[in-house]
């Protein structure tokens, strides 16, 4: 008996290890087969560059006194997973005019993405969710502001009397302005 014991034990051990191994492989396989697909969004990056310029409004439609006006941003081509849309609104901006320059603010609060309102009475911006408020230049005006940074501006240009912007969203709730890709 004692002569056979080690061999027997070794065989039993091998069977146990092999069974555990094979069972683990079978158990992990279904999830593993879909893991790349599941993680696909991390691998994919959004579009970058000048292809995202959108024509938003005519310069003449902006008041000279710098009062902000809200406009939809319509992009010529938007690809949402499998569907390609043409000329669809992708968001909105406040535009304010300074002589022949235009400043564009994203409507989304840099805090957690609620939509910022313009308050005509106090002539400033306010986020109705957590009460962050911003001056007309987008700067933070609340003490202990929930928003960690001023309102997000975007690149603008004026061509042939029309205002173009490079519409972008940014990572919320951090002091730095980092575009989402």
């Amino acid at each position: 008996m004692s002569d056979h014991e080690p061999e027997y034990s070794g065989r039993r051990k091998f069977i146990r290890v092999a069974t555990l191994g094979a069972s683990a492989a079978c158990g992990i396989f279904p999830l593993a087969s879909g893991l790349p697909a599941l993680l696909d969004p991390i691998k994919k990056e959004g579009k970058k560059g000048d292809d995202r310029w959108s024509k938003v409004a005519s310069l003449a439609s902006l008041p000279n006194d710098g009062a902000p006006v809200k406009f939809e941003v319509i992009q010529e081509k938007v690809v949402d997973a499998w569907t390609t849309y043409k000329d669809v609104p992708v968001g909105a901006v406040y535009l304010t005019r300074k002589a022949n320059d235009v400043v564009a603010f994203n409507l989304k609060c840099p805090h957690l993405g609620c939509v910022i309102d313009y308050r005509k009475q106090s002539n400033d911006y306010c986020c109705p969710c957590h009460n962050s408020s911003f001056g007309l230049d987008g700067s933070i005006t609340t003490q202990n502001s929930p928003s960690p940074r001023p309102m997000d501006t975007m690149e603008t240009k004026v061509e042939d009397g029309f205002v173009w912007i490079r519409f972008q969203h940014f990572r919320p709730n951090i002091p730095e302005k980092i575009p989402l890709t």
């Binding site: 039993r12 146990r16 069972s23 492989a25 079978c26 697909a37 499998w82 569907t83």
Partner: protein, 584 residues
């Protein structure tokens, strides 16, 4: 670590449960014949996990189902693999079901006291088949669409409630959004939940009665862990490898062209339902939908009672073997008949062409909100092939078929048009034996016309050798996208031949004596100015009876624009397509 497990065990008693699960006695030792139940559980587990992952990508509507599956298959990292595993594991499940069933039948494990478990097993088989049927439609491609149409029409055969049942399952009279939402709810919700419930009861009953031992017992008793589990795991690994192998070999599951009720497709179910499909060629649909399932249900119910005697058991085994043999024979017959059916083969090739075509259009244009099917419907090449098949192919041919690859039953009575106006095509046209053959004008009055009898038939071998030169000149008029144009010098030389300036054609007759080529209005035969060009081809299709073409000599060629048979746009599409590529 031990403290945590002890804490957990104190509160859950998991060690006892685990012991109960793993240390089930296996009388006569572990055997390969017991692996099928575990394999089926593994397959179902794989389907639940991969199905849940697929759920994250799938969108059930008539405009998004195919599109979301396309996106997963071609745009998502490893999406094709995930889909392939789900697809081939579903097929493996069917094979495993049959193996498990036959093991139970042969071993007599359906007999008392295990009748109830046998019936539950049969119910699980039905649910699994329903899962296959509902899953087949979800990609919303031609194959799934048309096959499901047949399956749901069978439902209407059920007495009294059939039509209402069909409406409930389809979500209305027509197939559309609600068909998909309902099939998806069944496939991903109702049926898997039922199967989970049935598996629990099945395993409970299995444990209650223990393994039915096939005598003689080969070894002494052992336990489920690790001996039987090792065998089970090895069998599961083999299935896993087979599924991965199939997925890699076929590069995932197939995806046909998007479903289109206006685009016919030969409806065929998946291979495991082919026997039923074939059977319906010989028996009324009522048999397939009601009599056969009812008979099977009754037999399954009676089987434990029939099998109480040795002869009854043998009868049960014979019944299932006969059923399997009959199904295999019917399946082989279905495959063989399809392989020999030229129209079916052509339909499959056409569907493959459409599937590739829609992918290339999607790459170019993306998918509009109206769905990918609109890309195919609006695709000029696809429209041209269909227009040719509908309006031209009863007389003409394109590479010997109807433009889409289907053989044509009617006798060819007008020219083959693949490579129309190319140098090769015109060269053959000008050769007497081809001119009077079915390939060109053999089926028309022109077979005995002046050109055939008095011109082409009378050329000497030396003159016949000059005809390819004339063909080059004529073909140059067509300005075909795949041919190089003549240079000016060559053109001049060939025009001289057309005019027979050097009396190369010995009878003194020149082409120009009958055919105009430079818009000067000479000749009574068809005007060859701009022959085969877009303008010439469109004008010819519009009205071949125009004095510029056949005039009163026109032989049955319809005046498509004059008689409003085709719109100007459709004629332009046909002209573009006919002139777009050389013959195969």
């Amino acid at each position: 670590m031990k403290f945590i497990f002890d804490w957990l065990d104190d509160r859950s008693g998991y060690r006892n449960l685990l012991h109960e699960v793993l240390y089930e006695k296996v009388p006569g030792g572990a055997r390969w014949r017991y692996v099928w139940g575990s394999c089926l559980t593994f397959a179902f587990f794989t389907q639940v996990v991969t199905g849940t992952l697929l759920w994250m990508f799938y969108s059930p509507s008539a405009q998004t189902a195919w599109e979301s599956v396309y996106f997963l298959q071609y745009q998502v990292w490893g999406g094709w693999f995930l889909r392939g595993v789900h697809h081939y594991m579903a097929q493996a499940m069917i094979v495993l079901l049959v193996l498990h069933l036959m093991q139970v039948v042969i071993d007599g494990a359906y007999r008392a006291p295990r009748e109830l478990n046998f019936w539950f097993g049969a119910l699980m088989m039905g649910v699994t088949l329903a899962l296959s049927l509902t899953g087949y439609l979800l990609p919303w491609d031609q194959k799934g669409y048309w096959a499901t149409a047949v399956a749901t029409n069978l439902m209407a055969e059920v007495p009294w409630v059939g039509p209402a049942l069909q409406k409930v399952v389809v979500g209305g009279v027509e197939y559309g959004h609600h068909t998909l939402t309902r099939f998806f709810a069944l496939h991903a919700g109702v049926l898997p939940a039922m199967l989970v419930g049935l598996v629990v009861v099945h395993i409970y009953l299995f444990r209650k009665h223990g393994i039915h031992v096939k005598e003689p017992r080969p070894k002494k008793d052992s336990y489920f862990w690790p001996d039987q589990i090792l065998k089970d795991a090895i069998a599961c690994l083999a299935i896993l490898l087979a599924v991965v192998g199939l997925t890699l070999y076929f590069r995932g599951a197939p995806l046909g062209p998007p479903a289109d009720p206006a685009n016919e497709f030969p409806a065929r179910p998946e291979w495991y339902f082919l026997f039923l499909f074939q059977l319906l060629k010989y028996v009324p649909a009522f048999w397939g939908a009601v009599i056969i399932p009812a008979f099977l249900g009754l037999w399954i119910f009676m089987q434990p009672f029939i099998g109480t005697t040795k002869s009854g058991h043998q009868l049960n085994i014979g019944f299932w073997w006969s059923l399997i043999a009959g199904s295999v024979a019917l399946t082989l017959m279905a495959f063989s008949e399809d392989r020999e059916n030229l129209r079916h083969t052509a339909a499959i090739e056409e569907a493959n062409w459409q599937a590739e075509r829609v992918l290339s259009i999607v790459d170019e244009q993306g998918i509009p909100p109206a769905g990918a099917v609109t890309l195919l419907r609006n695709d000029r090449e696809n429209r041209a092939r269909n227009l040719f098949a509908s309006h031209c192919s009863s007389c003409h041919r394109y590479n010997g078929h109807d433009g889409r690859g289907y053989p044509v039953d009617d006798v060819q009575s007008a020219p083959e048009l693949a490579g129309f106006a190319s140098v090769d095509w015109v060269t053959r046209l000008l050769t007497h034996k081809h001119y009077v053959s079915e390939e060109y004008f053999g089926g028309t009055a022109f077979k005995n016309g002046t050109m055939a009898r008095k011109v082409l038939a009378k050329y000497t071998p030396e003159e016949t050798d000059l005809l390819p030169q004339i063909a080059r000149l004529l073909s140059d008029q067509a300005d075909l996208p795949y041919q190089e144009a003549l240079d000016d010098e060559e053109h001049e030389e060939l025009m001289a031949l057309f005019y027979n300036d050097d009396a190369d054609f010995q009878d003194g007759l020149a082409c120009i004596d009958c055919h105009d080529i430079d818009s000067e209005g000479d000749g009574y035969a068809p005007d060859l100015t701009g022959y085969g060009s877009n303008e010439w081809t469109v004008a010819f299709i519009q009205n071949p009876e125009d004095a510029r073409f056949y005039g009163e000599d026109n032989d049955r060629m319809p005046c498509y624009a004059k008689d409003a048979k085709l719109s100007d746009e459709e004629i332009q599409i046909l002209s573009d397509w006919i002139r777009s590529k050389p013959a195969e």
